[in-house]
Amino acid sequence: MGLLRYTLYRLVQAVPVLIGITIITFLLANSAPGDPVRLMLQGQEVDEELIQTIEQRYGLDQPLHERYLTYMSGLVQGDFGHSIHYNEPVSDLMWSRLGPTLLLVLSAYAFAVVTAIPLGILAATKRNEPTDHVSRIVALLGVSTPSFWIGIMLILLFAVQLGWFPSTGLVYPWWGPEGYDWIDTWPELLYQTALHLLLPMIALGTLQMATLMRVERTQMIESLQGEYVKLARAYGVPERTILRKHAFQNAQLPIITIIGLNLSTALGGAVLIEYVFNINGMGRLFIEAIQTLDYQLIMGITIVIGTMFVIGVIITDISYAYIDPRVTYGEEE
């Protein structure tokens, strides 16, 4: 029940931020010299009335604040406006691109968590032993290497040279085997999905993995020095139980927070990775939108991605609260 109230509390808290996102995006999109439509239509010799019809359609003849209100009133009804370049509703365009990005980002996270936490714990327990040093070096390299460069190198090595993995694109499980005339069964489909996902997943996940690993290590070390661990030892609790239960849970708290906050790096990285691996996700849609200065589309994507981040953070906060009883009793900050 405390948890429920906390959840609501966080949701309410998020509202101003979400509104803020729309404001920032809107202001940026309209900060361009000349109005966005003319900016985007540059390169096409279009007669005045066409421009004017478009301008009216997007209410560009009205003052800024009124335009914002118009935009918002559309937004609350799920209307993100209309892409001038694709001549499609922005929401439709984004909807079809949401899946791949989510698939990519989530799997990258899965990869990061699954590798980082054991390695971090290992490093913490084997502190200052070779294993520790190795894992620290890995982590260091991880946080220092541009994800897109990792991607390029992975493609060159594993796709082009060795030919083990496909170099581009994804296979979407939600299309089902019937979506691909070269795939017959579900297992095959999932196998293909995994195969296509692996390289981009690693490229995007490495940074996350490295960051988490560093934190996990320090947290475990701190946690293992905690009094409650001493106590558990003094009462004859086996080391394994101590690791898995007493030390572990506490160490995870900061990890959860970090996972939430790093979502922004991950979503940003998705843009690069989708570009390098030619994945039809939000990221590439964003690049295309930017290239064509399709401002309604750009606003839509930015807002959606911002929202994804906020939601992600809320989710992590809640699971934090779930693990750490202290939070729900108004001790956050």
Binding site: M40, L41, Q42, G43, Q44, E45, V46, L50, I54, I84, H85, N87, S96, I155, L156, A159, V160, G163, F165, P166, S167, T168, G169, G179, D181, Y275, V276, F277, N278, N280, Q291, T292, L293
Partner: protein
């Protein structure tokens, strides 16, 4: 389409390195053309020829399918009346038949038409007869009505394609298999280009144009199977195809990958069976793979450096233009940058066009075309260029920008400070050809153009005053009757007369240099070894050219 002009631009003005093309001789690398592929050496498609590669047992290969990766995204418009980007058209040409179709020599041959038209009324009336018993994929028969509709719809509906048919005065259906097309006045390019219309079923199309655009019905060798917007298109062999040969290929899937490197990765890792447009620098790599073959052909795509000839611009003086032209080496640029993808060009018309019209190219190359000669450049500029002159050179942010940088570097070496502004393609068009050509804005810009077999397709569009601020921004006034001669040439159907006029016009252009012809790009494609009898077609929209009298692609497992 939200804005025609953009698509239109995309069709003709080269938005990227990818060329819409045609050629006199198509070829497959790995044929018995002599190959010396040392870097620097410029590849010449004419050195390659190919022979057919037919399966021993056609039935055995009748279930082959392939994936083809296009080099640019489609606009996903598949109604030939409306559609106007080469990459949607690559699907359209599989699904529809044309009244006439280009062969590998880029000459039109009858397809739906039984033969070439009878011409009457001083070259303004064309009589067409079409085959009977041609069926659309929906079972309806293809009649003269449909052909008429295909001719008139673009103008009636003011689609982006109207400019190709707006010289039509009237179309009259004589009976199911005959029709008559009247032009307002004689139109030179008509028989060479414009009457190669793709034929749509009037009934099915007019029922629901939106639906037809996303789920087209033609009479072509392949029919619509599956389509995911922005993702892929799957076509299947139309087994009741009326014409011979029927495709070996059972089905084909079109995807796209705009990123050169990643597209090549796909090919190298065989994630796809074929890719369009082999990037210049990956040529050797792909050709080196023994399970990949590379195909190339010339194209009617020409890239120029245009000069702002408006009064007040430093480049208003032809001597200055010539000086700049002498300052750098086009040859060197093509060698280091496009040795596999393009070939230097001395005329404003493409090589193919030149061959079809046998223009005196060698002469021009010898006498008029300015070659690399720093001394002369310095001389000319010192004499004619304004004092403390720093011209602006605008280029789109692709490989063409590096040409601009080279020009600037060379000029810099002889003491002229030129600023290169590279920008987004659209932004550049905005600031050059769609601008008033204010001398303060720019002196030079680079742009490519895709013409056709007829010189008019270059000279009228790029040099006639009516096309100022539409296709060109050089604002060249020309000697006495320059512009009249261009119109005169297009409105004549007498080839000798036209050729003479064009030679004059081209020579003036080469002497006055409102534009410096740079190079013509090739059409290329790479395929896995299992894909057989594939030959890249001169007409970009025909690629991959899956079935014709001259080739019939099959898969060899």
């Amino acid at each position: 389409m939200a804005n025609n002009q953009q698509v239109w631009t995309r069709r003709r003005i080269l938005a990227s390195g990818a060329a819409v093309s045609a050629a006199a001789v198509a070829g497959c690398i790995g044929g018995n053309g002599d190959e010396d592929e040392e870097g620097g050496e410029i590849l010449d498609p004419e050195e390659y020829d190919y022979e057919r590669d037919e399966p021993d047992d056609p039935d055995a290969v009748s279930d082959g399918t392939m994936v083809y990766t296009q080099e640019l995204e489609r606009d996903e418009d598949f109604d030939p009346v409306v559609s106007n980007d080469a990459y949607s058209f690559q699907i359209i040409t599989q699904v529809f038949d044309g009244l006439y179709e280009f062969n590998y020599d880029y000459e039109l041959e009858p397809k739906v038409a039984v033969d070439f038209p009878e011409v009457e009324r001083d070259d303004t009336r064309y009589l067409y007869e079409i085959h009977d018993g041609i069926e659309f994929h929906n079972g309806e028969e293809l009649t003269a009505e449909d052909v008429a509709h295909s001719f008139t719809a673009p103008v009636e509906e003011e689609t982006p394609n109207m400019s190709e048919f707006d010289m039509i005065e009237d179309v009259e259906v004589i009976d199911d298999y005959q029709l008559q097309v009247d032009l307002e006045n004689p139109y030179g390019p008509w028989e060479m280009f414009n009457h190669a219309v793709e034929i749509v079923p009037e009934g099915a199309r007019t029922d629901d144009r939106e639906e037809f655009n996303q789920n087209p019905i033609g009479s072509g060798p392949f029919e619509w199977s599956d389509f995911e917007f922005g993702e892929f298109i799957e076509l299947e062999r139309f087994d009741d195809y009326w014409d011979d040969p029927v495709p070996h290929l059972q089905g084909i899937r079109f995807e796209d990958n705009v990123d050169d490197a990643s597209r090549v990765s796909e090919m190298l890792s065989h994630d796809t069976d074929a890719i369009g447009d082999v990037p210049n620098d990956d040529w050797d790599e792909l050709e080196g793979e023994d399970d990949i073959s590379v195909h190339v052909t010339e194209s009617p795509s020409v890239t120029y450096i245009f000069f702002n000839t408006n009064e007040g611009a430093g480049t208003a003086d032809p001597n200055v233009r010539r000086g700049i032209a002498h300052a750098f080496s086009m040859q060197d640029y093509v060698e280091t940058y496009l040795n596999n993808a393009a070939i230097p060009l001395v005329t404003p018309t493409s090589r193919i066009t030149n061959d079809l019209w046998d223009f005196p190219i060698d002469e021009w190359e010898e006498d008029v075309y300015p070659e690399y000669d720093p001394e002369q450049a310095e001389e000319l500029l010192d004499e004619h260029a304004p004092d403390d002159w720093n011209p602006t050179f605008m280029a789109p942010d692709d490989e063409r920008a590096t040409l601009a940088e080279r020009v600037a570097t060379r000029l810099d070496e002889i003491g002229y400070d030129m600023e290169v502004q590279t920008m987004d393609f659209g932004a550049m068009l905005e600031q050059t050809i769609y601008s008033e050509a204010n001398p303060d804005d720019y002196e030079l810009y680079i742009l490519g153009w895709t013409g056709g077999p007829d010189p008019d397709q270059y000279l009228y569009s790029l040099f006639h005053e009516s096309m100022e601020e539409l296709n060109n921004g050089h604002h060249y006034e020309g000697r006495d009757d320059f512009h009249d001669r261009i119109v005169e040439a297009r409105q004549s159907a007498d080839d000798d007369e036209r050729e003479e006029l064009y030679i004059g016009i081209i020579e003036e252009i080469l002497e006055e240099l409102p534009a410096l012809p740079a190079y013509t790009e090739h059409n290329s494609m790479a395929t896995g070894e299992q894909i057989r009898d594939m030959h890249v077609h001169p007409q970009m929209q025909y690629n991959p050219n899956l079935v014709s009298d001259e080739s019939n692609v099959w898969v060899d497992d």
